[in-house]
């Protein structure tokens, strides 16, 4: 072995290598600098466009509290719908992977039907069409069921969003579970674990790490789609913005305001996603 390749002695980095290293470092710093400058220029350009549009910033500021009062509904709908979607996604994924024909076919049909129809149609189904089903059922002797099938707008919205995103997330969770090495299940089985113990202790925790990015994506999409409940007259963010914009003939100002509020919420979600991802990765990223 030549002396200069002997690592155990600490071989000493030769001058040319040092030069390359410095070059790499300066290139990296320059890239970072340029990236930040690009972002700043973009932001300035956006603000200039807003100014050039002669937006009524004072009006925006005055209306902000009114619009912002809708954030409670937006957060409520999003939170409830996300919880429902998570629950349905786990049950749905287990169904899609189940060897029980009834459970499996129900889960598969759910995913197919919900993914195959527009969310807008589904929202109206829950809100406007369900009472009619109740009425038909009353005709078959289920008295009093129509009232039960006539949902308040908020409930209809939460159900529509939760059921819809639950179907998309079912596929995400299923793919996450299937991405785990079958050797993990075998090792758990060999220890004598039951199927549910294996799922809970071995498969889910590993699948969770895989599905955080796509699921966060779906959460972010859902927060924005919560605006669909405005169609049913729930006074959430976008409903208020559209209403005020129309009344004062300043829709542009109101829409930009509400768009920025959504954007901020999504930026926060993205921040949590990144935090969660680094937390889950704690030094045990599989290197196999």
């Amino acid at each position: 072995m030549k002396a200069d390749t002997n690592f155990s002695e600490g071989c000493g980095i030769p001058a040319e290598a040092r030069k390359t290293l410095t070059q790499i470092e300066t290139d990296r710093a320059a890239y970072k600098r340029k990236l930040i400058i690009s972002f700043i220029i973009l932001a300035i350009a956006m603000i200039m466009v807003l100014i050039a549009l002669k937006l009524d910033f004072k009006f925006m500021k005055n209306q902000l509290p009114f619009i912002f009062a809708g954030i409670g509904y937006t957060l409520l709908v999003s939170f409830m719908a996300i919880s429902l979607a998570c629950f349905l996604a786990i049950v749905g994924a287990l169904g899609r992977l189940s060897k029980n024909p009834v459970f499996n076919s129900i889960a598969s049909s759910y995913v197919s039907l919900i993914r195959g129809t527009p969310l807008l149609v589904q929202v109206y189904m829950w809100y406007l069409a369900l009472p009619q089903i109740g009425k038909a059922l009353e005709g078959y002797g289920f008295t009093g069921i129509q009232a039960f099938f006539t949902l308040p707008a908020l409930t209809a919205g939460i159900l529509a969003l939760g059921v819809c995103y639950g179907a998309y997330m079912t596929e995400t969770v299923r793919a996450g579970i299937q991405s785990i090495d079958p050797g993990q299940t075998e090792a758990a089985n060999a220890l004598g674990m039951t199927r549910s113990q294996t799922m809970k202790r071995i498969i889910f925790p590993q699948a969770l790490r895989v599905i955080i990015p796509p699921v966060s994506n779906e959460f972010i999409a859902m927060v924005k789609d919560s605006s669909l409940v405005s169609l049913m007259g729930v006074w959430e963010l976008s409903y208020r913005a559209i209403k005020m914009g129309r009344r004062h003939f300043q829709s542009l100002e109101m829409l930009i305001t509400v768009a920025l509020i959504y954007w901020m919420m999504c930026i926060m979600l993205q921040y949590f996603q990144e935090k969660l991802e680094t937390h889950m990765a704690r030094g045990d990223r599989s290197i196999r």
Binding site: D181, G183, Q184, E186, A187, A188, N189, A190, L191, G192, M193, T194, Q197, R201, I202, P205, Q206, R209, R282, G283, D284, R285, S286, I287, R288
Partner: protein
């Protein structure tokens, strides 16, 4: 007399046919006495892994009977309690895989206490105390709180052995435990297996590791195309094989 000891593992006329017509095991019998160490050798694809996996029902035999520590399961029975009996066999049977299959989201210690705590419902403190003894026994006490991906292959396989031993099994199954390892790491794993054999564990190992087969195993079985070709003590198999097929196979690995 040895005949009076009921064997720890007894499998009778095991067939395995992978759907639709891949006949991998053709009526295999095997008896392993308590405390015996047997090594199974054979060419790739001859059915060694499948046989081992039929013992703890990771693979469902197509026909035949398996008895482990007095628990009997027959292929194809329809019995409500069968899954429970399969789990009973698995609790008494440790298995080590070629790819280690440690749980990557758990630390070394968590890996080892997972079975005792989740399956045997032991108290965490008790399981931890025993796990620490095992870690000392495999010489990895200082890796207690590491995640498996930070360990070398040899260390991972030793942890996998400790994970199995934490269940206090009656039999250990090894499926080529060293064939995924760099040559310099094989020794540390074989050394642990050897100590295990010396301490009286019943071991069924599929391995081509020569030192283990020749010096540790009490008996060697040669498999080919889902049948036994020959079996006997290592001296006889290595020095004086009866079958031509055994000679050919040994010429390959020696």
């Amino acid at each position: 007399m040895m005949e009076n000891d009921s064997p720890m593992v007894k499998i009778t006329n095991i067939h395995k046919v992978f759907f639709p017509d891949m006949h991998v095991l053709c009526g295999i019998d095997l008896e392993v006495k308590k405390g015996e160490t047997v090594a199974i050798l054979g060419a790739s694809g001859s059915g060694k892994s499948t046989l081992l996996r039929c013992i703890n029902f990771l693979e469902e035999p197509t026909a035949g009977k398996v008895v482990v520590d007095g628990i009997t399961i027959e292929a194809g029975e329809k019995d409500k309690l069968r899954n429970g009996r399969i789990r009973d066999i698995r609790k008494r049977t440790g298995m080590c895989f070629q790819a280690f299959n440690l749980f990557p989201h758990m630390t070394v210690l968590e890996n080892i206490i997972e079975g005792p705590v989740t399956v045997l419902h032991q108290k965490k403190e008790a399981a931890t105390a025993y796990a620490e003894q095992l870690l000392q026994w495999i010489g990895l006490s200082e890796k207690r709180d590491e995640h498996p991906s930070r360990l070398s292959g040899g260390q991972q396989q030793r942890v996998a052995i400790a994970r199995s031993l934490a269940m206090k099994p009656k039999v250990m199954l090894f499926d080529e435990p060293t064939s995924a390892l760099d040559p310099e790491l094989v020794g540390e794993v074989v050394e642990v297996m050897e100590r295990l054999a010396k301490e009286g564990m019943t071991i069924i190992a599929v391995t081509h590791e020569l030192h283990f087969a020749r010096d540790v195993a009490d008996r060697i079985l040669i498999m080919d195309n889902g049948n036994w070709v020959e079996q006997g003590p290592p001296e006889k198999i290595f020095n004086n094989p009866e079958q031509e097929r055994t000679r050919q196979f040994l010429a390959h690995i020696l």
